[in-house]
């Protein structure tokens, strides 16, 4: 269980997160929606330890992650994996080396075992062995996302974080990525947080949806509850109304 309690963060005097309270149940996919620039990625970066809150707590299985240091922090980081918005694949490494990277850095597995696991993950993402030798700049946006997902999944995480997983992808590739998220979740049973503004596509993978607006969670519940939520701001966002987006 990941629990966020009264999280506050400001940048240059401007409050981006203004008292966030949210619970992410173990083994479920929680989706945080909200318009661009509202602070969804900032929220995610707090949970993965890249940003420190001004106040508030983030508890993972009851442990405040802001208090973790040294080996305890490294152990915590080994429990999760992140799919970054642009994939964050290492430019100087081939697809194979990118996917093998976490195993080479964090395990002492023999190369033959690493190669086998890399190929299994490539197959899981419907990628052929031919892409192994390609470099990230030779891949399409969808392929990059799938390679990045393979790199994340090879770490066998207990918790997965997805930062805008389908931004910039065409509709078929969007469906492919959401299908892969569902498939990997069913296979691994990880707890997940998906940050996205892709409405309504993102509802297909969500067990729980929370809407972030003006630094606060203004609605949270099952996807059907959010879709029928009485708050006009939520409805306006779901329908993609211009006045709200510009407001």
């Amino acid at each position: 269980m990941i629990k966020i309690i009264n999280l506050v963060k400001s940048f240059n005097g401007q409050k981006v997160l203004d008292g966030i309270n949210l619970e992410m149940p173990t083994g479920q996919i929680t989706v945080v929606i909200g318009k661009s620039g509202v602070g969804k990625s900032v929220l995610l970066k707090h949970i993965i330890g890249l940003l420190k809150p001004d106040s508030g707590q983030i508890l993972v299985d009851g442990q405040d992650i802001a208090l973790l240091k040294g080996q305890a922090l490294r152990d915590f980081k080994r429990r999760f994996a992140v799919l970054f918005q642009g994939g964050a694949l290492f430019d100087s490494l081939s697809v194979f080396e990118n996917i093998a990277f976490p195993l080479r850095e964090k395990t002492r597995l023999p190369e033959a075992e690493i190669a086998q696991r890399v190929r299994e993950r490539l197959a899981q993402m419907n990628l052929t062995a031919e892409v192994e030798t390609k470099f990230p700049d030779e891949l399409s946006g969808g392929m990059k996302k799938r390679v990045a997902l393979a790199r994340a999944m090879i770490q066998e995480p207990e918790i997965m974080f997805y930062d805008e997983p389908v931004t910039g992808l065409d509709p078929p590739m969007t469906n492919t990525v959401f299908h892969l998220i569902s498939k990997t979740h069913q296979e691994s049973g990880y707890t997940a947080l998906v940050v996205s503004h892709d409405i309504p596509d993102v509802f297909q993978v969500a067990h729980q949806v929370a809407m972030l607006h003006k630094g606060r969670i203004i609605a949270a519940g099952a996807p059907e509850e959010i879709q029928n939520h009485p708050d006009p701001v939520v409805q306006s966002f779901i329908r993609g109304e211009v006045d709200f987006l510009e407001g």
């Binding site: 890249l50 964050a88 290492f90 430019d91 964090k106």
Partner: protein
């Protein structure tokens, strides 16, 4: 009146903060060289990128520098009938000053800018964040090998610069202008003392560390997308070249 003063004060505070930040960054980077996991292969890769790939430009710069030193030196020394001192003039100029300084400036322009751009792009494309979330320290994995490579590669490039510069001077002084080969080299052997060589090595070590430190720091703290990378790269070349010249004065004053 108050406004320009305030701006000056703010700039000064920013500069002091940046200098402090750079020192902490340097200490962290160097300290991590002694913490496992050790990645000697990463250091070798960086020596290749910073050192080996700068060799051609160092060879060209050194050859022409030695040639022009010999040309200028020859016509100046001839006025006093001292053409025989050409070898020592070329060697001392190169070993004490021109070798370390020009190597530093060329490495800053070629490798320093590349290091900033590489790390800056890693920053804006979240590759550094990805390392962090995989429990791999980005400073240990990305920065530390580059710092070590700078300290190793720049003195070696300086040595190459000195040798090639002396040969360039030989080409112009001895082969084209007719100075005797024996006096060119014997003057050099008599006038160059170990302190000159040690001074050159110390300078090149300091320049190598300074250039790569500035390059890594500017890249690591890049902000605001592609424009930020461009700005950081520009700042690296300007700042490291100025620091090389400033260090040169300070270190020369110690060795004189």
């Amino acid at each position: 009146m108050a406004n320009p003063l305030r701006q000056l004060g703010r700039k000064s505070v920013d500069m002091v903060q940046e200098a402090g930040g750079m020192m902490i960054f340097l200490l962290e980077g160097l300290a991590l060289a002694f913490v496992p996991p050790f990645r000697p292969r990463r250091v070798l890769e960086e020596i290749h990128k910073i050192g080996v790939r700068s060799t051609l430009i160092i060879l060209l710069t050194a050859a022409f520098t030695g040639m022009v030193l010999a040309l200028q030196g020859y016509y100046t020394l001839r006025k006093y009938g001292s053409e025989g001192a050409l070898g020592s003039a070329v060697a001392l100029s190169l070993i004490r000053e021109m070798g370390p300084v020009l190597t530093g400036i060329m490495v800053s322009a070629r490798a320093g800018s590349a290091v900033t751009a590489e790390i800056g792009i890693m920053r804006i494309t979240e590759q550094l964040d990805a390392l962090d979330t995989m429990a791999v320290n980005p400073i240990q994995y990305v920065v530390m090998p580059k710092l070590l490579a700078g300290v190793i590669a720049v003195p070696l490039l300086t040595a190459i610069f000195d040798v090639v510069g002396i040969l360039g001077g030989y080409l112009v002084g001895v082969i084209l202008l007719g100075v005797s080969s024996g006096s060119y080299f014997s003057g050099m052997v008599q006038s160059v003392v170990p302190l000159d060589i040690n001074g050159g090595i110390v300078k090149s070590l300091v320049f190598g560390l300074t250039i790569i430190l500035v390059a890594c720091y500017k890249g690591y703290f890049t902000e605001h997308g592609a424009e930020g990378v461009s700005k950081a790269t520009n700042q690296t070349v300007v700042l490291s070249a100025v620091l090389v010249l400033a260090w040169d004065y300070v270190l020369t004053s110690f060795f004189m």
